[in-house]
């Protein structure tokens, strides 16, 4: 599963002008080095800075708040965004679900349990037709294609919400249909910073990004280390070390190691340093692997040390050929000991082109029940939903998650400890992507 995310930027005119021109020619971006040269050496512009109001407030046609950098406001925890809602797009309260309808659902592969869907079909006497997308950008292309009428999308990344609203693809929620979300969904997401009032989103999965390893193959104890990220830098297992396969997770890791708590960095020098740090790991281990299949790699022994998402780590137990070897898998989220670390969520959104908005509302709400969210986690996704009934303690007690892997379960508090990898302005995004492209190319 590929869940790339982006961030933001304000900044120096020279670089912006240069990159804007590049964007005008189709993002004709040269290598990172060339970009930096054009930026006059990449002077420090602040880390995660630029939280000045976008001027979007009142002026932006899509919403208020946020920071500047894109045609629509970019949401930040310290600069929340309230998206404009056209009342005509909100369905009336108290309607019956569409009868005899086929509800068209978009999801990541294996990201919504078939059993949960079947129960919904039975409950509302409807048919659900599922289409999958293999990465968020392809998902965006699918909902933007002409002539499609998908009703609902599970797993839209937070970074994709703003642009989808700006492109007119999303339908606002009528919260009268979301009673289960209201009662069992985390309070945090009743009005998140990226969508104040939750007008367009309800949360779907939550995860953190941590360190996943085979404790029968390597002896490390990140929990007791002054800097847990050093496990990737100090004697990482040669040929057996891997990182996730997207720019933000990969480059954020050395930034966290350097103590940054906001990794939505716009400074080219910081991005370059992160790239060089990762390149130094690649050199030590004789070539890094970048992938999202840690959940099969570690059980198979293909890798012994992997940067990982908590949902993948929880899934990995399923892929062990010998389930009694679950103790050999260890996962650690640095945020649990107060180190800088990533924690994130994705969302469920309604699509404006859909023909069955009532059923779409009902399905979005359906998965929030304790029963369905547990079935979703246990039977298919391995990713936890933001529901009150699912806590690290309850998951361990029920035996669904081994005690030593309890940090794969995210709690509400983790969102105050960890930091987000957020949507970037196009020019900054290009910097990150170029740096990552150079890493994967070995340049």
């Amino acid at each position: 599963m590929d869940r790339p995310r982006r961030l933001e930027e304000p900044h120096r005119y020279a670089r912006r002008e240069f990159l804007k021109r590049a964007a005008a020619t189709g993002i004709a971006l040269p290598s990172l080095g060339a970009i930096l040269a054009a930026c006059g050496g990449g002077a420090q512009t602040g880390v995660g800075g630029g939280t000045s109001a976008s001027g979007a407030a009142g002026a932006n046609p899509y919403g208020t708040g946020g920071i500047a950098g894109a045609p629509y406001p970019l949401a930040r925890p310290e600069a929340p965004v309230t998206w404009n809602v056209n009342p005509a797009d909100v369905i009336a309260s108290g309607q019956q679900p569409e009868s005899g309808a086929t509800l068209k659902v978009l999801r990541w592969p294996y990201y919504l349990d078939d059993g949960v869907v079947k129960a919904f079909e039975k409950q509302y006497n409807t048919t659900v037709q599922i289409t999958e997308f293999s990465d968020m950008d392809k998902g965006l292309a699918k909902i933007n294609a002409s002539g499609v009428d998908f009703d609902i999308m599970f797993g839209m990344n937070v970074w994709a919400v703003g642009r989808s609203i700006a492109a007119g693809l999303l339908r606002p929620y009528n919260h009268d249909y979301l009673s289960t979300f209201k009662s069992n969904g985390w309070d945090l997401f009743q009005s998140p910073f990226y969508d104040v009032g939750a007008n367009y989103t309800v949360p779907y999965s939550v995860w953190n990004t941590g360190i996943f390893w085979r404790n029968d193959k390597i002896t490390i104890d990140p929990h007791s280390m002054a800097n847990p990220y050093d496990v990737f830098f100090d004697n990482p297992p040669k040929g057996k070390t891997a990182l996730l396969a997207n720019a933000q997770d990969v480059l954020a890791m050395p930034m966290f190691r350097d103590g940054l708590t906001d990794v939505n960095v716009t400074d080219p020098a910081v991005i370059t340093k992160a790239k060089d740090d990762i390149a130094s790991i690649a050199q030590k281990v004789g070539g890094l692997s970048y992938d999202h299949v840690d959940y099969t790699d570690l059980p198979a022994g293909t890798t012994w040390l992997h940067q990982s998402w908590s949902g993948n780590a929880s899934d990995a137990v399923v892929f062990l050929s010998d389930k009694s070897k679950a103790d050999n898998l260890s996962y650690y989220w640095p945020g649990s000991d107060g180190h800088p670390a990533n924690v994130d969520n994705d969302t469920t959104v309604l699509l404006k082109a859909g023909k069955n908005p009532v059923l779409a509302h009902l399905l979005a709400d359906w998965v929030f029940s304790a029963k369905q969210s547990l079935a979703n986690f246990t039977n298919t996704t391995g990713y936890q939903m933001a529901v009150k009934s699912m806590t690290p303690e309850s998951m361990v007690q029920s035996g669904l998650v081994p005690d030593h892997l309890s940090t794969v379960i995210v709690s509400t508090d983790d969102f105050s400890k960890g930091s987000r990898e957020l949507e970037l302005a196009p020019d900054v995004d290009a910097l990150w992507q170029s740096a990552y492209a150079e890493l994967t190319a070995g340049v």
Binding site: G26, I27, P30, D137, N144, S164, G287, G301, E438, G442
Partner: protein, 304 residues
């Protein structure tokens, strides 16, 4: 009137219509997609969804991305330079190995297998009834640290610790390519070698040639066109191959152009780069194809 002109004059008028399905197919599945690649390469990026926007009107085409891509191919330490070097190197080696393995195999099948010819041919082709992807996944199991190959090598005391076959080894990649593409070399060679008249060999031997010289002066020249066909059929798909590297040698030091294209295409702001790489690849592959076509035409003319 020449005999050819005579045949043309008596040819029914509807004959050209028989080419219509193929023409339509080519228009739909080659010409149009190719134009899409051009339109994307020379197009722009949507500022909101950040997805590529094709430029359908050639008068609005912007060559900046193509120029950027080209400069990153030809400049040392360019983003795509290593991928092209790797591709030429690995494809060259793999094709040579395909020929060295495929020719004797095809020769044996065609001229020495006797009444077991069909059985040997079926045995040779049997593994290829399974998809290449699945076979590569099987190779991953075989080549894993605790796979049968490492276990056998350790058991035979050839190595003391598992050899990291799957950790970006060019050797694994080249052997994977050979394994995947050797049938494309064998089959045209087999078809040609099987059709060489025995009388030609006998004539060579009657003129006092040794078996080796008979092969050199009779068999090899007769199979030249098949060798050329085998080379072209192997090289073309190998140049675009990306999954062999992904499954058997997924590291930066073995990345090929196919991998660079896939990486670019999966990142919307870089889709144009991917399209530009496809154009460059196409241009690079045109000369060998033209050479093959010219050579085939000349061979046909000589045979008349």
């Amino acid at each position: 009137m020449s005999s050819e002109a005579g045949v043309a004059a008596t040819r029914p008028r509807y004959w050209p219509a028989l080419a219509a399905p193929a023409t339509l197919f080519l228009l739909l599945f080659f010409v149009f997609p190719f134009y899409v690649v051009l339109a994307v390469t020379f197009g722009s990026i949507d500022p909101i969804l950040r997805q590529p926007v094709p430029a359908w009107n050639p008068t609005t085409w912007n060559p900046a991305i193509l120029s950027f891509t080209w400069s990153n191919i030809v400049h040392t330490d360019g983003l795509y330079e290593a991928a092209f070097v790797h591709t030429f190197l690995f494809v060259g080696l793999a094709t040579l190995l395909c020929l060295l393995i495929g020719y004797p195999m095809a020769y044996f099948l065609a001229r020495r297998a006797g009444r077991y010819k069909a059985a040997f041919l079926a045995l040779f082709l049997a593994p290829f009834w399974i998809s290449y992807m699945l076979r590569l996944l099987a190779w991953r199991s075989l080549l894993a640290d605790d796979g049968y190959i490492n276990r056998a090598l350790i058991g035979l005391h050839v190595i003391a610790t598992p050899y990291p076959f799957l950790q970006g080894k060019p050797l694994t990649l080249v052997l994977g390519l050979v394994y995947g593409y050797v049938p494309y070399m064998v089959l045209p060679l087999y078809a040609t070698l099987d059709r060489i008249p025995e009388s030609l060999m006998e004539a060579g031997r009657d003129l006092g040639l040794s078996p080796a010289r008979t092969f050199w002066h009779v068999t090899l020249p007769q199979s030249y066109q098949a060798i050329l066909a085998g080379l072209v059929i192997c090289i073309l798909p190998m140049f675009g191959d990306y999954y062999t590297q992904q499954l058997l040698a997924d590291r930066a030091n073995t990345r090929m152009v196919g991998n660079a294209i896939v990486d670019a295409l999966t990142q919307p702001i870089f889709v144009q780069r991917g399209a530009a790489l496809i154009l460059v690849m196409l241009v690079l592959l045109i000369p060998p194809i033209l050479y093959y076509l010219r050579s085939t035409r000349r061979a046909t003319e000589l045979a008349r």
